[in-house]
């Protein structure tokens, strides 16, 4: 048992024993360290002004990821290196990323700038050689700028990535990794007492026992949702169990028939596996949150928190994914679609938690499509999310249709009437399509809200099914889509 957290700052180990379970990394930087370079723009992980880089030891090197420090609980950074914007320059010599931002006129008011610098810093560390513009857009999709219109910032990122990667972080990588390895241990962390604590168990058994003892505790994986309960809802969360240290829970494995995703595997880690199942899944994952959110947020958390507009559940349901839950020493498996009962209510017992997901890969004859409809392409929450898996036989007859939507009901939900209307029909049978569109109206009674009206949702659900059928019947996505075209993925793969 360890009663403190430890992390690396500016080459030195910081140890904190009097940790408030709800303390955020941003407050630690700004209020405790008085390191005010990192800014708070929104306090909900959506603007990126508070971006810092988190370094983890991987094979003798440090791997950096950008995260939103405003919703990162301080306890979660145990065992990592924290790099903030003030750390980059050496005396009066700017870091190459900073120099490029000055040279390209990448700052105007300057308030978003530290966040951009840190996101581009993470890209700089992550890549070797020039980086394509589209990839740069992804790396800064989680950083909002209201002054520049982004062009000079993109230019700065392009420019700095054209140069060699040579900075003090690369030079110190092995040493820092050594320091991080030294900090790594197998001890359970527990700071506080039975009424108020931050805990980070090291094993599934430890987690199960602790959660059974404290079923009212809040489980935090990436914190991209729970962080907002603290910063926005101002809820008091006296008991926090962070599961990021649990050994074996962050794994992802491709068994050949399916992909197994541990509960604490981040979106970022899962993305290539999903892309390998189908390009649309890769595109969906690319558009979930931002780099910062995907570096922290977990697929398991997205499924477990039961949001009606979570982006992964509809896709997982269409794919026929199952999940594994555990309570004490008892485990059970459940189809993802059966986890959601109604808005805010899931099929999960007190003290029970998600340990992983099993996602079947596509079989020959299966066509998968998914579409995320938003006001803004990047880093936005769906008004409607549709996912489709059609199993076709050799004669192009639909033997099975699995259709799931988000944003159409209080929970992610299958369109069973529409599925039934398609069963046994040819993928090119327009009469069957019409029946399916009509059936879709029976499947859902969507709501009006600030993201979209009920009418738009209903029409879009119809449009997405139509699009999926058109594409499954052979229309190339160059004719059906503005972004995420599958032909481009194919080209890129060749």
């Amino acid at each position: 048992m360890r009663e403190s957290i430890r992390f690396v700052r500016q080459g030195k180990i910081v140890e904190i024993a009097d940790l408030d379970p709800m303390a955020t990394l941003l407050d630690h930087l700004r209020l405790t360290e008085c390191a005010t370079g990192t800014k708070e723009g929104c306090g909900e992980g959506d603007c990126g002004a508070c971006t810092v880089a988190i370094g983890r030891s991987r094979g003798g090197k440090v791997v950096y990821e950008a995260v939103n420090s405003c919703i990162q609980l301080l306890g979660m950074v145990d065992g990592t290196e924290i790099v903030a914007v003030e750390d980059l320059a050496s005396g009066d010599t700017l870091h190459p990323v900073q120099a490029a931002m000055v040279e390209k006129h990448g700052s105007q008011c300057g308030f978003c700038t530290p966040g951009f610098v840190m996101s581009i810093f993470a890209l700089y560390q992550h890549s070797e050689g020039p980086v394509a513009r589209g990839e740069i857009n992804d790396w800064i999709a989680g950083n909002l700028c209201r002054c520049t219109g982004y062009k000079p910032i993109i230019d700065a990122a392009l420019s700095v990535c054209e140069g060699p990667r040579a900075d003090k972080y690369r030079a110190a990588s092995a040493d820092t990794a050594g320091l991080l390895d030294f900090l790594s241990d197998d001890k359970d962390i527990f700071i506080g007492d039975d009424t108020r604590f931050f805990a980070a168990p090291a094993s599934v058994e430890g987690l199960a026992a602790l959660y059974q003892k404290h079923p009212t505790a809040v489980i935090v994986a990436g914190g991209t949702d729970v962080g907002l309960w603290i910063t926005k809802q101002l809820r008091d969360l006296p008991k926090i169990i962070h599961i990021g240290r649990v050994k074996g829970l962050d794994g992802i494995e491709d068994t050949g028939r399916e992909v197994l995703i541990g509960a604490t595997a981040t979106y970022a880690k899962a993305e290539p596996y999903m892309r390998a199942i189908d390009p649309d899944l890769g595109e969906l994952f690319r558009r979930i949150g931002s780099k910062q959110v995907r570096a922290s947020g977990t697929v398991g958390g997205n499924v477990a928190n039961g949001s009606p507009i979570g982006d992964t559940p509809p896709a997982l349901i269409a794919l026929g994914a199952t999940m594994e839950l555990r309570r004490g020493d008892r485990a059970r498996a459940l189809a993802v679609e059966d986890f959601y009962i109604e808005y805010g209510k899931q099929n999960r017992a007190s003290g029970e938690f998600v340990t992983g997901l099993m996602v079947p890969k596509l079989k020959p004859g299966q066509v998968f499509r998914c579409y995320k409809i938003t006001k803004r392409f990047d880093q936005d929450i769906s008004s409607v999310m549709g996912a489709f898996r059609f199993t076709l036989d050799a004669d192009s007859v639909i033997r099975e249709a699995r259709i799931a939507y988000g944003g159409m009901a209080g929970i992610p939900k299958r369109a069973k009437a529409a599925e039934a209307a398609l069963h046994g029909t040819s993928i090119r049978d327009s009469a069957a399509w019409s029946n399916a569109f009509a059936a879709l109206r029976l499947d859902f009674a969507p709501l009006d809200d600030h993201r979209a009206s009920a009418n738009y949702r209903a029409e879009t659900a119809h449009a997405l099914l139509g699009k999926a059928l058109l594409e499954a019947a052979g229309t190339p996505t160059g004719r059906t889509r503005l972004i995420g075209r599958r032909e481009e993925f194919t080209d890129a793969a060749e």
């Binding site: 370079g37 723009g41 308030f111 879009t460």
Partner: protein
Amino acid sequence: MPPSDVMVPDAELSVVRKSLPHDSAPRHVTGSAAYIDDIREPAGTLHIAPGYAPIAAGKITALDLDAVRTAPGVVAVMTADDIPGANDVSPKLLGDDPALAGDTIRFHGQVVFIVIAKTRDQARRATKKAKFTTVAETPIIDVDDATDLVLPDYAFIQGDPEAAIATAPRIFEDSFRVGGQEHFYLEGQIAMAVPGEAGEMLVYSSTQHPSEVQHLVSHALHVPSSAVTVEIRRMGGGFGGKESQASQWAVLAALAAAKTKRPCKMRLDRDDDMIMTGKRHDFRVDYRVGYDDEGLLQGVDVTFNARCGHSEDLSMGVVDRTMFHADNSYFYPQSRVLARRLRTNTCSNTAFRGFGGPQGMVFAERMMDQIAYRLGKDPLDVRKANFYRDGSRDRTPYGMQVTDNLLHELVAELETKCDYRARRAEITAWNAQSRILKRGLALTPIKFGISFTLMMLNQAGALVHLYRDGSLHLNHGGTEMGQGLFLKVAQVVAEEFGVDMGKVAITATRTDKVPNTSPTAASSGTDLNAMAALNACKIIKDRLFAFIEEKWQVPRSQVKFRDNQVLLGNRVMSLGELANAAYVDRVQLSSAGFYKTPTIAWDRDKAEGRPFFYFAYGASCTEVTIDTMTGEMKVDRIDVLHDVGKSLNPAIDIGQIEGGFVQGMGWLTTEELVWDKQGRLRTHAPSTYKIPAASDIPEHFKVELFESDGARVDTIYRSKAVGEPPLMLPISVFCAINNAVASVNPGTVPMLDAPATPEAIMKAVRAMTAGAD
């Protein structure tokens, strides 16, 4: 004193016209540029959080704050009864904008009490413990339901528009909506007040209008203005959102500091900021137009119905500017431009980059589109036909003659450069064979009037000190919000003394250095403050010239300040050597400078005069693709040609144009404000309110400055204002989307509202084919 009648040849300039980086850029990128929340707090600083009632309209019958007062860390709680002076943060002291509401609630988010606590977290958590008992009324949310006015109706009338429309060969009438916009400055509203002795109060406020904050704080504390000093080094964005809307938080911080006798800081949470502060006005525009078979306007009768929110705030000036720009670039032979300013139970709408002008211009462009689609013409041809022309077609609906018209040459140059005609043909052919995806193209112009239409604001002051070592201290009434104002003014000062930029110390705006200042707004920051600073420099230099003439008998014509040296006939010395010699001879080396814009005049009651010193021009061409199944849209290409006169700093100006374009594009596309029936804003955070992200701009985003001899009036180095005009360039995005919608069913007139969200686009697309087939 006329500062620069003679244009200085560019070749003789060493600092002005250079693309220098923002003066704070190295500090921005290292995190060492301090915003108000980054200033080290004095020991004992307390933190303030606002509390508000759960209704949008009605009465508070009881308010129980006992649990708030006893919450952890709480030091004090204040309500309206605790304000010693005026409970008013209205910019015109109208009394309709209380710092703390009494028992009447006029919008959801109106602050009723503040909590002052040891930490910000404690203050925020304590606000949740208030118990309100209320009697709610049905809130008036949008203009369709509103009847009460914040100001009387006001109109410009030229000729007999009714008769002109009635006798025109073609007539139509239409109504459409253009949405509002949240500023989304990255740094939210913040102020810190530090009490001094004898009733003094130092207020750090993220404000575009320090003098107004000073005056409102003095009224609230019931102390003279001289007791209050307001300082702002830099804002993390303003865009008009910190012109009048910054005052309330500064006043509350000062009230709390006066009450507790401790420094008090108030930083709004982002959601509170978006719920509580005003936004760009949204409109329903109703209009009738008469035109001929060529698309030439005969008469225009337009009514702008503005949602002003619960109070007047700046709605007079903002909506006046809508009227001033209802013509955009087009000659209206006979016209009536009427504005109706409606009171609603929503936050009080306010200044936002363009200050009402964009909404007027969107109307003009939408009208041009409608005429073109009715006639089956290319919208660009209809636009060009209606441009102002020197001679008989140069009088605006408010009677001012347009004498510096660049529209024809600027638009022609862009049309050629962006290959408009060939692309139009290619897109028409492409659309004919594409069923789901449709492309659109539009080229739209802008003409934007420069000057405050409230005449008294067209003045500025500056303060320049020359020290004995030759270093310079620069201060002026303008505020820095990222636009590069401080840099541009410093460039002018460095040029005047012939020194490097490093010799000019840029300092925070403070009301005790330069008093009675205008807001940094209306794109006027550089025009006014650089002239004031130049005049201060000239006063100091005049004293130096006199001293040189007396001491060394060198006439001023033989004295040059350049290359960090002063050349006096055959003698060469550093500026420091000269300054020291002058000091020893008891020459005053410090001066204030002042400037007021010449030749402008506007009589609002009579609607007569020449309100603008000059116009800034520009044009942009945008290509988009829409998905007619889902309403999604992607911008494929943007070309801009924009007039900044002769630029003081091309890099800064291009930055303003690019940034303004993307901000305006957000207003017309992804940024949507939604209130529910209870009057609660539902889009109050970046998770729900979507400003453009990096991937929303196309790879081809080309911005060029229009080459000319510069402003035709005597502006600072013949430059033109650049803050607001580019915001309106992306009307071409909106019109390109409209054009793509039009291609769905050629011959049918598209009816697209702004913002063009996927839902709005889908609705417009569906309307194109309704009744068809």
